[in-house]
Structure formats: C-alpha cells, structure tokens
Amino acid sequence: MIISLDLLKRGEKAIIKEFTLDMVPLKLLEMGCLPGNEVELVQIAPFKDPMYLNINGSHLAIRKETASHILVEKHSQ
C-alpha cells in the first residue's frame, strides 16, 4: 500500500518510494532519505509535527509538510 509518509503511525515501518515535489531538497537525500531505504517513524510531536524518523540507522526529524511529499510503501503483513 502506497501512502505519504505523514500518514504512517508511530512505530510503523515502510520503504521510501518517491517524492512528489519537483524540487526535492538535496539535503534530505544527502542525509540518507533515498528511495529504496527503509524508514521507521520513531516518535511524533503533538499534531504529528515534526516527525522523528529512523532511516536505515540515520536518525532525523523533519516537518510534517516535508513528510507529506514523500511516498512510502507500507510493509504488508
């Protein structure tokens, strides 16, 4: 199932598929947020913003707005 990253629930994991921005912030890619990598939503602040992610061992926080432009595929169990 493909959803945008901000719809992921706390503790869930998914695989990054693509970005729906025409200008993806380069820094995001450089910090390891690349298609094909696994992402886990570690923690969320109130209103789910910002979101604390673990991408293949890289721990970082991004804002919900940014997350809504990242499409991920949820593990089907």
């Binding site: 820094k27 910090m31 390891g32 570690v42 209103f47 604390y52 890289s58 970082l60 926080a61």
Partner: protein
C-alpha cells in the same frame, strides 16, 4: 622544515571533529553533542613524528559539499579556493562509526576534488556496545585511502593517525566515484570549455546556491555563467549524483561493515520514548528549567556571600595598611569595589554554564528542538531557534553565532534579532542585587522562594518578549525564503566530565576577564571623575559642611557623610549626573543610578560595579555593596532609594534595554549591515524606557 603541512578536519556535524582536533593540538575548543557546535574555523598546531609540524584546521560540520547554510559554506569556500592560505595539503575526513554510511558521502566528494584524503573513523569505543565490526583493510582498499580507527574519548589510534598524516604523499588521489557518469556529455562540454580546471570543482562551483565571496573571481565568473543546462536540470543532476554516490557506498559497506541491529536498539529508544513524549517530554523540559533557576538562586548564595564579605574586608585592609593618599583611595574606592561587583557573580554564572553544557553534551538539546519546533514556528522561528534562545541565557554573543545552522534566512534573522531579549548572564548581577534589595526573602507555597520566583519571572518575561517580537517581526518582515527543516537526532551520551568542566571554566573565565577589563577601566574613570570637581564648590565642600554643622543643620556624627555627599555632588560626575537626572527621574532613579545606567550601555554587568564605586567614594566603613545600596535615601521623597517601585522599574528597564556593544557588533557581523543592530538599539531601549516609566508610575 620551511613549509608547514596544512591539515583540514572535515566531516558531518557531530562526528567528533573538534574532539579529534583537541586531541591532536592539545587545545580545548568547545565540544558538544549537538550538530552545529563549531561554526567557525579554528586553528592549532600539531607535532608529528620526525619533526614535522602540522597546521590543523577545525571546521564546521557539513553533510556534503553543497552548502545549504552559512556554517557549511565555510568548508566549501576553503576547498574550492586553492589560493587560500589554509588550503589543505591533506584532508582528514572525520566520521562516526555509527553513521558511517552517511559520513562517507562527503568523503567521496572530497576525494573527487583530488585532495589527498585520510579517513578517520571516530568513536571506536562504541563499536563493542553496538556490535559493529569493520574490515578496515578491505575498506581502505575499496575507498583507496588510509584509515585511522580512533577514539577521542579513550585517546586511542592517534599515533597511527599522526603517522598517516606525516606520510600523506603516499595517499592515492584517485576519485572513488566519478561524478561525470551522471551526465557524460555535459561534463565533456565542461571539460572542453575549461581545460585547465578540475572537473569536479567546476561542477561544484556551477551548482552552488551560495555566493562565494573570496574566490578568484575572474575565472569563476565565467564558470558560473556557463549554463547550458536549466537550473532545475542541474538540481536533478545533483540528486542523481547523490544517489550514485550512495549506491557506491552501499556496495562497499555491504562487504566491510556489519552491525547487529538488535544490539543497536537500546538506551536511545527507551530514553526517547520519555524525553520526546507528547506530554512527559514537555513536563521534563520545564522541570529542568526550574531546577536551573533554583540552582542559580539558592545553591550559589553561599559562595556569593563569602565573596562579597571578602571584597569588603580587602578594601578595609588596603585602607588600613597602605599609606593614605590618592593611590590607596583609587584602589580601595575605585578598583576593588568595581571588581568585587563582578567577581561575586562567578558562582551563578558557573552554574548556568554547567547546566547548558550538560544539556548540550548529553544530546538532549536536539530533543528540545524536536519538541519545540511546531510551537516556535507559530512565532516565525524554527525549532533550532531554541538553542540560541536557551544558550542566550548565558550570553547573546555565542547564541547569535549558534543561529548559523538555521537554514532559513528569515527564521535565522528573526532569531538573531530577538535573542538579546533573553536574560543573559550579564543581567543576572543587576537582577540579583535589586531583587535582594526590594523583594522580601519569603517562602511561597512552602517550596518556592519569593525572590527566586521573581527571578524566574524575569527570565520568562525575557523569553516571552523574544517570542512576541518574533511573532511581530514574522508579520512585518517581507522576506521570501523556502522553508525546509531537518535536524539530526544524535545518540545520547554521558557528558564527559572533562569536557563539561573545561567548558564551565573557560566560559566563566572569559566572561570575567572580558567584563573585568571594561569594569576596571570604567571604575578608574568614574573614580577620577567622582573625586575631582570643577571650581570652588568642590574644594569648599568641607568648609561648607563644617559651617552647616556649626549652624546646627546636622549633628557632628554625620559630618563625614555630609562632606562626602557634598563633594560627590559637586564633582565632575555629580554634574554629569545632574544633566541626566531629568531623564531618569520619572523612572524613580536618582542621578547615581542614571550614571550607572549610562555606563552600562557598554555592558550591563558594569551597573553594580559603577554603583559600588560611586557609593564607596568618600565612605570609609567596611561595607558590602548591598548594604551601601540599601542605605541610599531618595533625595526628594525620602525613604530608601531602592524601593519596590524603583526596583521593579529598574528590573524591567534592564530586561528590555539593548545595552551591550559586543552584541551589536556581532549582529552587524552576522547580518552584514548596521541596519539591524541600530534598530535593535533604538527599539529595545526605547521600549525599555516606556515600560520602566509605566511600571514606576503605577506602583508609586
């Protein structure tokens, strides 16, 4: 050796570059577990084997050679400019064994610049706990480099590193990834147009968003205009480059690195569950702040009383033992009280630095950024603004420099503009002495002390004003900049006692020395102005007083005091004070406070010292600063000069006024124009005057 070896430490933020730097050079630069501690170049010297000397450069962290914030730009500017005197002979890329994959991205980029590059894998001490194993030999082979596995905490591996640096000529300068594979045809054209330049360097120059101030312009100008590709196409190529590099890195690490992911999940997740919790996270943050205030107020009062009494005794001793005369008076009445006025605050300032340092070293600061981002954004700030605002409670100068890692210019500018409202340690002396004079020392609700609550209130006022003015500025300023926020969440670390202790000592020392110099100068000037006067009125003060006593104006026991106060009134400073008095009288101050306020436009902490100097001229009893101030009488209304109304008015004035030259200078430097610091000076001080006026008139 005629030429020194230039070595640059480069790496992602928070990988331990400064720790490695300190180990190599024996210096003590600030280290902290928060990405973006170092924001400027720092240099040092390291002795290498066989008598070679190396000039070591510590740089701000950067995730790649594509700068997106000011601190990152420092690195790129250096690496792209071969004529820079610091241009490295060897680049030492410092990486963190736990984040090797991400760290290697920058490594491969630097290698493409054909600079001899050594890879340092730091934090080796954590490998066992995290069940990490590395095949160093194979990694060296695949990356075509030499590797030093070190631990700056345990001081291991540095001999090897020094050896590698000495033999830097043996390093291969073959690139790992050839960037031209992302668009062979485009790179071909580029090569033909500038046959003399390094290809990857050309590519970097073309794709940078940031302006390069110092580059050799002529040549670069033509490069930046070489654009046969659209801007968005270039962006896409940059992304492709990043992906290609990661593909290479993944391939290499698959063969050489193994991590037991189960062992890696541990403390971090358990602590984060609580510390970044939607509810408990905030409660804990607030509790920590409360603890800090309690410490500053309660725990440090004992050493402070001691210092105050010591200085009073020293003044007395000087007066009794040194031959009487102008020089003795200068020391006893000018210098000692002035210095005492600042030394007394060492315990409090040390406590403040201690807490901030622990927060930074433990990794908690990034969690605060995470918790506060959403709230701060409402006010036009970023979660990252919390760090300047919190460290602004120590001093606005490093705080304003700490804004450099905020990517968004508008958020950064607003943070710079409002940071001086936070209660810095220089305000503390003023607050403390006035609170002690006008607020009763009473317990409220059994556990809180009224005085420490008022102090906390002042901190809240400072913080609240900062936030509200940020909100206003957010509406007023019309600056377009794209918002994009990302912050790394580092691992928790036990603060290293050595690091924290050095931090506290160094910062306290530089505060005292910095303030001490100004205070020394000002107190000498004040003393001279207060013990001399123009014309007869000053010289006749003594005769006048004796005549008035004989006429029965006051009893003989008061003679000395009367002489002193009359002299002061007709001294130079007395005349100056009188000139200011009309301006400050509506706020409830006398001319002496007026002088203290004017002199503290150089630096706030001068206030107490100035008053101490003015009050002690002519008085010869052993007295503490506080007692002298408590004894001052309002010349017009009678009663103590420092009462609730004038006290509150003073507190508020100091809370808001912009009285710090160094801050203004740093704002000018960080914003590149005088416009912002001047606006700060005028608006903040004007606002302070109005608020203090209203407060005094309401309470009186």
């Amino acid at each position: 050796m005629s030429k020194q070896l230039n070595v640059a430490l480069i790496g992602n933020p928070n990988t331990g570059k400064t720790s490695v730097f300190n180990q190599l050079t024996g210096l003590k630069q600030q280290v902290g577990n928060y990405p973006g501690i170092t924001v400027e170049k720092k240099e040092g010297i390291c002795k290498l084997p066989r008598g070679v000397k190396a000039h070591i450069l510590d740089l701000p962290g950067t995730y790649s050679l594509n700068a997106s914030s000011l601190d990152e730009n420092v690195v790129i500017e250096l690496l792209l400019n071969k004529n820079d005197k610091d241009y490295p002979d060897v680049a030492v890329v410092v990486s963190d064994v736990e984040n090797l994959k991400r760290n290697l991205l920058l490594f491969t980029q630097i290698k493409d610049l054909k600079i001899p590059t050594i890879l340092v894998i730091n934090m080796a001490d954590r490998m066992k706990r995290k069940a990490i194993t590395l095949d160093i030999e194979k990694l060296e082979d695949r990356l075509q480099t030499k590797i030093a596995l070190v631990s700056s905490r345990k001081n291991t591996g540095f001999e090897n590193l020094k050896e590698l640096i000495t033999n830097y000529k043996e390093l291969s300068i073959e690139p790992c990834v050839n960037a031209s594979v992302i668009a062979p045809e485009y790179f071909d054209r580029l090569r033909k147009a500038f046959p003399k330049q390094d290809l990857y360097k050309l590519w970097l120059v073309i794709t940078q968003d940031v302006n390069f101030g110092k580059l050799d312009r002529n040549e670069m100008q033509s490069i930046t205009t070489f654009q046969t590709e659209s801007k968005s196409n270039l962006k896409r190529l940059q992304q492709k480059e990043t992906i290609v590099r990661y593909q290479f890195i993944n391939g290499v690490l698959k063969e050489t690195l193994s991590i037991d992911h189960l062992a890696a999940k541990d403390l971090r997740s358990r602590l984060d569950r609580v510390l970044t919790h939607k509810f408990w996270g905030y409660i804990i943050f607030f509790a920590i702040l409360m603890l800090i205030f309690q410490a500053i107020y309660d725990w440090s009062s004992y050493p402070m009383d001691l210092i105050d009494e010591t200085f009073a005794a020293m003044g007395e001793w000087v007066r009794n033992t040194m031959p009487p005369g102008a020089f003795t008076n200068l020391i006893a009445e000018g210098i000692l009280p002035g210095l005492g006025g600042i030394v007394i605050f060492i315990p409090q300032i040390a406590f403040l630095f201690l807490f901030i340092s622990i927060l930074e070293e433990s990794g908690y600061m990034s969690r605060v950024v995470f918790l506060m981002d959403r709230i701060m954004r409402r006010f036009g700030l970023s979660g990252k603004s919390v760090v300047p605002l919190v460290s602004g409670t120590a001093c606005a100068i490093p705080a304003i420099m700490a804004t450099r890692n905020i990517e968004n210019w508008k958020e950064r500018l607003i943070t710079i503009l409002v940071t001086p409202f936070t209660t810095c340690s220089a305000r503390l002396p003023v607050y403390l002495i006035i609170i002690a004079l006008v607020i009763p020392d009473r317990d409220v609700l059994y556990i809180f002390n009224l005085q420490s609550l008022v102090l906390m209130g002042l901190y809240l006022i400072g913080f609240g004003t900062a936030i509200l003015s940020a909100w206003l500025l957010d509406r007023i300023l019309k600056i377009k900049s794209r918002t994009f926020f990302v912050i790394e969440m580092p691992n928790y670390k036990l603060p290293l006692f050595k690091n924290v202790a050095y931090n506290v000592i160094e910062k306290t020392k530089s505060f005292i020395v910095g303030a001490g110099k100004i205070i020394l100068a000002i107190s000498i000037v004040l003393w001279v102005l207060a013990s001399n006067g123009p014309g007869d009125a000053f010289n006749n003060a003594e005769v006048n007083a004796v005549e008035r006593m004989q006429a029965g104006d006051f009893p003989e026991s008061e003679l000395d005091k009367q002489i002193a106060s009359e002299k002061l009134e007709y001294s130079y400073i007395g005349y100056m004070g009188k000139a200011i008095e009309p301006v400050v009288r509506p706020l409830g101050y006398d001319w002496k406070i007026g002088i203290a306020i004017v002199s503290s436009f150089a630096a706030r902490e001068v206030f107490v010292g100035t008053l101490a100097t003015i009050y002690s001229v002519g008085s010869d009893e052993e007295e503490t600063i506080k007692n002298r101030m408590a004894g001052e009488v309002n010349p017009i209304l009678g009663g103590p000069l420092f009462n609730l109304a004038s006290g509150i008015s003073l507190l508020l004035f100091y809370a808001f006024a912009m009285q710090c030259m160094s801050t203004l200078a740093i704002v000018k430097r960080e914003t590149n124009t005088w416009k912002w610091p001047l606006l700060q000076l005028v608006i903040m001080s004007g606002f302070a005057y109005v608020v203090a006026l209203i407060a005094y008139q309401l309470i009186i």
